[in-house]
Symmetry: C2
DNA sequence: GACATATCTTACCAAAAGGTATGTACCTTA
DNA sequence: TAAGGTACATACCTTTTGGTAAGATATGTC
């Protein structure tokens, strides 16, 4: 059922049957990574360029070391974040976005900006 | 520290000190709602118009009734989803996006589309 | 009277996420 | 000798999330 005429300007991938992302679909896994609480913050923190571990801890305010490590590992495995470690003492490691990461952050930044702009109004429960 | 010349085309809200979203910030709460696993799927499911409970269950494939109820309640409280219930037997309830919800989904759809397009390549671990 | 329908709610339990605290490595500075 | 800086890893425990299954509802249908 359904064969809606398009009334809205926003569209899903056309090759997606009935607009349903199946439960086991790979896109679900990726979506979980990139919309994870800390994933978003870290990706956004890196939009303005390279940052070190301690800078990321400050920027993703409230993140624990454990979560930062875990999040960075996932994002690196996904090819979104690039890790450059220099064999110096004390250690120095710089994190940055890959091309793919930048592509993504270009979509994420408008989202967090929207959240930032609308947060007060939303939580007060009116418009 | 920092006074970076802008090398990237993407920018955060300018009134945001050093690009840090503080931990207690209202935008964090909103961000958690709209980037939640099921929140995203439900919002996206509604981009193509009004849907009933049972249709949403199909579209947000894998969601449990409990989670659907909970997610819809949060999104309704946030003024993103509109609930229209008709006092008939059996009950009929239609869900749709509010204006604010449409604003948001316009940002969310590109994100899930990106995830869909890049998922295979990402999970294989190369580009 | 039993059953089906559609939209939920609730209680209970398992799984996952995440915090805290501690440890490691190596060099520098006091 | 001791303490401190930097980037982690690991074990343990708590909190949150989420699934399953059952029940509630009010009617019409067999």
């Amino acid at each position: 059922m359904s064969m809606e005429t398009d009334t809205l300007p926003v569209h899903l991938p056309p090759d997606l049957a009935d607009g349903v992302f199946p439960a086991g679909c790979p896109s679900r896994t990726v979506l979980d990574h990139i919309t994870s609480k800390w994933g978003v913050l870290v990706l956004v923190a890196l939009t303005e360029g390279e940052h070190r571990w301690s800078e990321l801890r400050r920027r993703a305010d409230g993140i624990s070391e454990k979560m930062l490590a875990q999040t960075l590992k996932t994002l690196e495995r996904d090819g979104l974040v690039l890790r450059k470690s220099q064999p110096v003492i004390p250690p120095r490691v710089d994190y940055s976005l890959t091309d793919r990461g930048q592509e993504l952050s270009a979509l994420l930044v408008p989202l967090v900006t929207w959240a930032y702009d609308n947060a007060d109004s939303i939580l007060k429960g009116q418009r």
